[in-house]
Amino acid sequence: MNGAVARPVTGFLGGFGRVGRLVVEHAGAMGQLLWSAALATVRMKVSFREVVTQMYVMGIQSLPIVLVTASLAGIVTSQQGGYQFQGNLPLYVLGSLVVQTMVLEMGPVLTAVVLVGRVGARITAELGTMVVSEQIDAYHSCGRDPVAILVAPRVIAGTLAMPLLVAIADVVGILVGMFAAKLTTGLGYEAFLYGARLFWHSWDLLYSLTKAFAFGFAIPLISTHMGLRTGGGAAGVGSQTTAAVMFMTLTILVLDAMMPPLMLQ
């Protein structure tokens, strides 16, 4: 009886142990990768042109999908908030709800999740393919450093592009939410903005951009790390990309959960 209970329990705890070891191992490897990328950057081994190219791919090319998700988030928040408040609270509170939701949570997190799919998965698959087709070995054989050529530009570009994307997402989400509020509840723009100002702290914007900065750093770092660890041919690229998407999504949600105790006291 005891044994029958004990086995699943130890199995469960053993699972935790394995996950713990895995997390420590990945964190160590990513620390090393980051250190090499930082060294390559201060030694001016990183191509400025490649950083700009990557910013274009991550930033400009992601803009349409980021605009769509931010708009939808604005509409949904505005409508659901309006539905909750009707007859209970003054409607102008909706302005505050939309602004705070977009700036504190939806803008950074939704944009990051979109970029995990659009940018992170692509980076892992790209670098993974380069591993299994021996292109990474070829860089080494030519005396080049793949971290300087592939990793550093992506991490720099992601860290710079993400705050810009999130700022745009915040603004667009709020504006679309404001229009939606007018259409569905008849709340005027003046009243919406009055409500928004009532609870606004300029700290909130910094909070939003700090999140963006952290996510923009984490996505390329994790995706390049996972890509470079690919093994096992084309199937390996597939499974590694899936694993990287899980890893990045979880990291973003965990970072997101760590932010309030760190910054909102």
Partner: protein, 259 residues
């Protein structure tokens, strides 16, 4: 020139379990063995792409794994590596791919002009028409052309050592013969030491001064091509017979009759 001493390497299973072998300066050396015996692993350890668990690799008198970064860089400059599947950089055109074969410090300033000239020469050496291929991306090239560009990248820096990982695998008989002629010619003209991993046993025996066979993680045979053909070792015999049968099949199956 290249010494492997008691090289051990295991991934999930042991791959190399004590390989000791030497390639002398200026010679052309062929390495045979069934697929999956670690020929590529051994070749990669020569320029430090894979670190053995145990044992030593020495190239031109220097230890690959004990000399630090500068030594490794020097060894990599001395050696050209031809990868099994060409391993061209997808995002770079042919010119920039071949340019990668030159050290970074030879690309700056006025030396950059000379570098482009050397790319041109390397492409001509591998029988490609530079004007036709320079601007093309790897995806726009045929398998045989990719192989040649990969070879051009390996030779553009005038290496003393050439490491070939199955340069004829996946090529049709016509291209195989052409690439083998190219290997012979380049090794002679550039006066390199060549280590050739190949599944084309007949070709390897014809081209090379000495040959070795890897089996079960060990060097099963090392000697001249004649000794290899007449070896009393049943494993070597079976390998030679199977290779001969495969070669005959290739000939019979080649509709052009050009092989």
């Amino acid at each position: 020139m290249i010494h492997y001493e008691n090289v051990h390497k295991a991934f999930d299973l042991p791959v190399l379990s004590g390989v000791t072998m030497s390639v002398h300066e200026g010679e052309m050396f062929a390495l045979f063995g069934p697929s999956g015996t670690g020929k590529s692993v051994l070749l990669k350890s020569t320029i430090g792409l894979i670190r053995p668990d145990r044992g030593h690799v020495r190239v031109a008198g220097e230890s690959v794994f004990q000399g630090g970064k500068d030594t490794l860089e020097r060894i990599r400059r001395k050696a050209g590596y031809v990868f099994q599947h060409s391993a061209l950089f997808d995002s770079l055109n042919v010119h920039d791919n071949v340019l990668m074969g030159l050290p970074e410090d030879e690309l700056r300033g006025e030396r950059g002009v000379r570098a482009s000239r050397r790319v041109w020469d390397a492409l001509e050496l591998v029988n490609l028409e530079p004007t036709q291929v320079l601007g093309k991306l790897p995806a726009e090239l045929s398998g045989g052309m990719k192989k040649r560009v990969g070879i051009a990248r390996a030779i553009v820096g005038h290496p003393q050592i050439l490491l070939w990982d199955e340069p004829t695998t996946g090529l049709d008989p016509v291209n195989t013969a052409a690439v083998e002629r190219l290997i012979m010619r380049l090794s002679r003209e550039l006066e390199t030491t060549s280590l050739l991993v190949t599944h084309d046993v007949e070709g390897g025996l014809e081209m090379c001064d000495r040959v070795a066979m890897l089996d079960g993680g060990l060097v099963r045979f090392c000697g001249s091509p004649e000794e290899f053909r007449e070896s009393p070792d049943p494993v070597v015999q079976a390998f030679v017979d199977r290779a001969a049968a495969e070669a005959a099949l290739d000939l019979a199956g080649d509709p052009s009759g050009l092989a």
